[in-house]
Amino acid sequence: MILLQTIIHHVYFLLSAVVAVLLLTRLFRRRSRPGIAYDIVYVYTLIPFILRALHIK
């Protein structure tokens, strides 16, 4: 049970890291919606995922 809880707990950090990498990739490589407004949205959305992946927040 403890092992399962630990795995699930760490999967959340892993998922945060995966989403952060996806957002970062899309910030620089995307075909649609290239405007600055979307750049800002991508960058801003990235923050909580990076903070969680780095165990800061």
């Binding site: 699930i8 959340y12 600055i36 800002i40 960058v43 801003y44 903070l51 165990h55 800061i56």
Partner: protein
């Protein structure tokens, strides 16, 4: 065809309008990313400071040893829930008591009471165990969404001493995700989801439960194995909470609490007493009483800072407890304790109440059960109100290094 190709390849390369725009977009995105990094670094400065900060305590000469809680249950070893336990053993028979501080880290008079006891304690009979940060993880997290200041400071003759204002629950970095509904063990009572991280909803704990349940289990194990006669869990409450300024006691400790409450109310400050409800599961005053032989007592002081309707959440409000909205509620008879904005509910008042409240109930245990008597002193309510909390906190720079600890 071949010649033309050669000429084109050798011509100086010039950036077209399309390539120039691409470079501009790349620079723009890099600048935005740099801004986000800057925002992350500057915006989390307080968060990182709170997470890393360690409180200093200079224990009194009565100090015997420091042991980590995982000594009694290794299921929390190596985690941020493992917390130091300080033992003050007189070497003379008698009873034993556990002073449990910081179960809810956003009630900071609780750990401060424990620290002040530890810095000034004298024990002539029996043993005293102190856990100043029962939920150590919660002390590293600011109260989510409430804009609490991360620290408060106590002024002393030698400078300021800084303490943390934490959260109610275990940090999500230590325990996540929360269940949809938290099912309390072993009663199977359904509690709110966030109570799975609330140390004072997970007692008596379970060895293979979540991290907070395992911590509760470790504390219960310590009480059982050390045969601790009385457990005093120190809290603070909103003034609109019925058990504010109250002892909440397991039924086995009822008589002790009633006597202590009468003595305190007659001689020092108003103190109510209430029997722990049997249907309210997971709390120390219920589960430690049911699952160990210890007399389980919980104490609450009035903390205007945690009122939902109080004004700005500032360090000043934390220290003075003066708030006009709380006064309005008091004037309209909506509170469960006395309140006057002129005096507020200062940190000295709250800590002093706890120190004397604990001493009185320990004394009553000795009166009712002489074999469990404990000879213990630390600053009283009257002394703290007269001299201030800072008077009883010692300078770690001038203290014997063997008596200085970080929490």
């Amino acid at each position: 065809m071949t010649t033309t190709t050669t000429v084109q390849a050798e011509a100086p390369r010039q950036e077209g309008p399309r390539e120039g725009r691409t470079t501009l977009v790349l620079v723009r995105r890099l600048v935005l990313l740099a801004g986000a990094v800057l925002l992350m670094v500057s915006g989390t400065r307080e968060i990182r400071a709170l997470r890393a900060y360690e409180e200093t305590v200079v224990v009194s000469e009565a100090f015997t040893r420091q042991v980590m809680l995982s000594h009694w249950f290794d299921g929390i070893a190596g985690t941020r829930m493992d917390t130091p336990v300080y033992v003050f053993d007189s070497g003379v028979g008698g009873g034993s008591v556990l002073l449990l501080g910081g179960a809810h880290a956003y009630e900071p008079a609780s750990p401060l009471t424990a620290y002040m006891a530890m810095e000034n304690i004298r024990v002539t009979r029996g043993r005293v165990f102190v856990i100043p940060r029962a939920n150590r993880s919660a002390s590293t997290l600011g109260m989510l969404g409430n804009a609490y200041p991360p620290f408060f400071r106590i002024r002393t003759a030698w400078g300021e001493k800084k303490y943390k204002i934490g959260d109610r629950e275990t940090h999500p970095l230590e325990q996540w995700p929360d269940p949809f509904t938290f099912v309390h063990y072993p009663s199977t009572q359904n509690l709110a989801y966030q109570d799975s991280r609330n140390l004072n909803r997970t007692f008596p704990g379970r060895a293979d439960g979540n991290l907070t349940e395992r911590t509760s289990f470790a504390i219960s194990e310590m009480i059982r194995r050390e045969k601790i006669d009385m457990t005093i869990d120190v809290h603070e409450a909103s003034l609109g909470y019925p058990v504010v300024s109250t002892y909440v006691c397991h039924q086995r400790a009822d008589e002790l609490c009633m006597m202590a409450s009468m003595v305190l109310s007659a001689e020092q400050f108003p103190m109510k007493t209430e029997t722990s409800p049997t249907s309210l599961r997971g709390l120390t005053h219920r589960e430690i009483g049911d699952f160990t032989n210890s007399f389980a007592v919980l104490m609450e002081t009035p903390e205007p800072f945690i009122e939902k309707f109080a004004g700005p959440m500032t360090e000043e409000l934390m220290m003075t407890g003066r708030d006009e909205f709380v006064q309005t509620a008091a004037t309209r008879g909506l509170l469960y304790t006395e309140y006057d904005i002129k005096t507020g509910a200062t940190m000295d008042y709250r800590v002093g109440r706890h120190l004397s409240g604990a001493l009185e109930v320990i004394k009553q245990m000795g009166e009712f059960y002489p074999a469990k008597a404990i000879g213990v002193t630390w600053p009283t309510y009257a002394e703290v109100m007269k001299n201030g909390s800072g008077h009883y906190l010692h300078d770690p720079q001038k203290a014997d290094g063997r008596r200085v600890f970080k929490n």
